[in-house]
Amino acid sequence: MSSPLVEQPATRPAAAPVRAVNSSTRELPATLRRLKGNGFTRFVDLTAVDYPELPERFELNYMLYSMATREWCRVKAWTAGKAPTVSDVFAGANAFEREVYDMYGVDFEGHPQLRRILMPDDWVGHPLRRDEPLGGEEVEFSAG
């Protein structure tokens, strides 16, 4: 009797919920390296969500994609402002870590070139923190 062929799922609906993995911030590189070994070879995204009322206010969201099983995996870690870099695990994380540093001020330790990427170099503050004001100019409407 022949063993059944291993069938790879050819498709998977896009709206299926994304698998989420929690990680401690310290173990992030190890977690991502393990997932990369398990087939999640494509780096998709890194971003943060700010909860200013919490002591560890930044929720880092890494997104990986498995080319074999056609699914995304989200890795979550919480930090107060420091995290190890994963740009040596996925080269693609480089620019995304710079963006999170620029927008939230999260310090990625060991990053080869952690400097602002979107805002001007001499900008003060980190604009996407939720306690930063929106800014902008008031539009004046005349009554008559």
Partner: protein, 397 residues
Amino acid sequence: MPADLLVSDRPEILHINLGPQHPSTHGVLRVELLLDGEIVVKAMPIIGYLHTGIEKMFEHRTYLHNVTMTDRMDYLNPLGNNLAYALSVEQLFGCDIPPRAQIGRVLLAELTRINSHLVWTGTTALDLGANSVFLYTFREREQLLDLFEELSGARMMTSFIRPGGLAKDLPLPWLDNVARFLDMLPSRVDDYESLLTDNPLFKERTIGIGQLTAEAALDLGVSGPMLRASGVDFDLRRANPYSSYDKFEFQVPVRTGGDCYDRYKVRIAELRESINLCRQALNLLPPGDFRPSDRKVVPPPREELGSSMEAVIHHFKLYTEGLRPPAGEAYVGVESPRGELGFFIVSDGSGKPIRCHERAPSFANLQALPIMAQGGLVADLIAIIASIDPILGEVDR
């Protein structure tokens, strides 16, 4: 912070800027270069010149307001951005979209893909000195923009795909015009190909230029036509079908060379596939509703307001508070003309998202520039930037 990132101790190395105000950089991209004569020793893209804080503004506007900002991120693919945003918001709601809206969305997304690839073909040929192709592709693009204007009233920033379906129904005369446009287009694509595909000058400038291996592309987060030109058979429309793409039959063009010429071939093949997809969508488009009947997402029709108290409440809530998706987070990846595009939205149940992040394909794809440009000529750098197809609106957001 130091302005000069790249330094060399060799005195003959020249340190110059390409851009940001150079037409060949497809927007306001600046590339810092270290040159040894004509050879690029190192190239470093510097971005941020078009940063407008869209992700910050997302957090201060309602879910429906935000649709208009997604148009302006990738200004060559506005309807594709609308679609990605709408799918994420709908994932939060968990609402079903009627088939007519789903097929209509595919039609609109593919028409914008044609639009984007037409602009890409024209501008890339222009960068490499083939001026006439630019005029031809923009002639067809103009007709496409006229179609969008006829449908929505806006040529580029249509905001036509919204959470909960479409802004309005697709009218029959418009569908006829689309069919006429699609009948005309394939012979025009033949024209572009006759000017470029076997053109010895074009081939000289693109074959073997800007090589990118599949491993490097995956590691860098590169997606879309760039990834497929490097030999990776991956397209989200087929791998993770959204918005009823699983009902369509289409090929995913893949090339293995990983150079600028293969990226050109992949995009031209995709252009033809998109025409095919649009035709299928016209045939598949079923009659019926173009938005769901879920009153939490779509306002009740005007005539119900006179007779139903519940309709009045829904109407009032939707127009004062906007959409209020349940708390949670959502991400739906879609295949934009440049690669994987997705909106990561976090909702706390209020009328405004607490975080809305765009995973922009050009942002990740641009990271491949230093690898592809290293060791090549400055003139080849122009071809390489063009082959990435960066849209600075979505790179900088």
